[in-house]
């Protein structure tokens, strides 16, 4: 395999693609993972690259890669629960390993056999770190029996880190927006509930505290959200008796 380091211009492009775009909208992780797999395949010599992404433990694993055979292997490996990718998802890199060696045959029997069939001889996997967690892996597969150079693995880890950085910012962005939505919703609900209290109090000549009890009792007995009931009272589409 070629051990030539990629030209700086190509590397710069890859890092810009993976980590330099300003995050103002949550990006589609699928697109970013595909981008990581593509850059990995193009920049890391003759290696093929596959990306696994499992942001939370229970959810299904997303897979990205180039080529049908490789993608099929990656999906099957997830199903089997074996392979270097699964190991690296735990946070520790899997060093360069011969696919026809003892370690591969005993730890990943199905994965190793299929990868050998596809013409690969070496593999390594690098964790995809998102914030403090390891949420996936970049799996590299090299042809022939020449070990994957450390320099190449270091570059692969940098590409994975760049993508992990963007995924982390996306996650923060989604969390912040959800909190902002909740906050606004809570404040707007509060406003309409207060208005409904006043409306009902005037309508039935009762106190605002009594009006609140009427509102709450109606919402409970009709299994409806208090802000929705309040909105209808304020809009005069719902008339509540004084109780």
């Amino acid at each position: 395999m070629t051990s030539m380091f990629p030209p700086p211009q190509r590397l710069a492009e890859a890092f810009v693609d993976l980590a330099a775009s300003p995050v103002t909208e949550a990006s589609d992780p699928t697109g970013l993972l595909a981008c990581l797999a593509l850059h990995g395949s193009e920049l890391l010599g003759d290696c093929a690259a596959v990306v696994l992404y499992a942001p939370d433990k229970s959810a299904s694993v997303e897979v990205a890669g180039v080529g049908e055979g490789l993608m099929c292997l990656a999906h099957d490996a997830v199903g089997w629960g074996e392979g270097p990718g699964q190991e690296a998802c735990g946070g520790r890199p899997v060093a360069d390993t011969a696919l026809d060696g003892d370690r591969a045959r005993s730890d990943w029997p199905r994965f190793a056999a299929r990868a050998l069939e596809l013409g690969y001889g070496r593999t390594a996997a690098l964790p995809l770190r998102v914030g403090q967690e390891s949420s996936g892996a970049l799996v590299l597969l090299g042809p022939g029996s020449t070990p994957l150079p450390a320099q190449l693995l270091a570059l692969g880890q940098s590409l994975a880190d760049a993508a992990g950085w963007t995924l982390e910012r996306d996650r923060q962005l989604c969390e912040t927006r959800a909190l902002a939505d909740q906050l606004e919703q809570a404040l707007v609900s509060r406003v309409v509930i207060e208005q409904a209290k006043g409306t009902l109090a005037a309508r039935h000549s009762i106190s605002v505290d009594e009006a609140f009890r009427v509102l709450r009792a109606y919402a409970r007995s009709h299994r409806r959200r208090l802000p929705d009931v309040a909105r209808e009272v304020v809009d005069r589409t719902l008339d509540l008796p004084a109780g």
């Binding site: 890092f15 406003v191 006043g198």
Partner: protein, 287 residues
Amino acid sequence: MVTGGAASELIASAERKAALARARSTHEITSAERHELLAGQARTEALENMHLRIAAVHRATAACHLTAARLQDDYVNRLTGWARQRGTPKPLFMSGVAAACGTGSASVTLIGASLDQLAMAASDEPSRAAQELEFQLGEGPSRDATRQARPVAAAGAALRERWPGYGPALAGLGVDAVAAVPLSLSGRCVGALAVFDPVQGVADSDTFGEVAEALTRSMILSPDGDPGLYGAIDAHAQVHQAAGMVSEQLGCPVTDALELIKARAYAESASAHAVAERILRGELRLG
């Protein structure tokens, strides 16, 4: 009368938030150092630049968390002093926010997508009065900073030019300068932090923006924050109750009723809250 329990609970809560903010700051610094190390080892300029850029973001976030921790420390100190000296007014979290901005008068206004003022907290009487003006007139620095999602500052004649209603009324309160920064995070703006008659230079200092970001990150948009600012936020509850009442009495939409209350308050140089209380007590009927 607030019980001793309330003071100790507030102190515990603020101490927890301070510790959390410090831990987050430390974590960000660790991340920054890791990327600085990686930048030093990078074989190409592209990689070095990437790590340096990521490190810079971590450093800025670390500074923000540290500012947040200091705001909590300050509140703990105020609460501790208060717990020893009963009979003095309960300290406000906003007083520390104002002090961190280099002023005595600061306000936080939470503003919805419709640009309505949803809730507010102020450090002192002038800032509370200024916020009330913005509520009544529907124009002013907090609203503009939120809408434009960028800092706003005006002083002297510019106040009157920029806000024909709010400017002169603010001058009437004896306030000559105002500055506001958006409370925003991840491109979402939920309101503004404003300072009144700040010390020269505060409006264009990084500190002001950093305090706003610290507040947003640690209190307003944090899973373990407190957007109510320790119970100090005012959601205009009575004003909205009175608006509902007026709407029913006049058979008009509640938004119109709210405008009537605001107009009445402005005409009487009273707070909307004071007018609302009279309506709720049946002493005042509008229309």
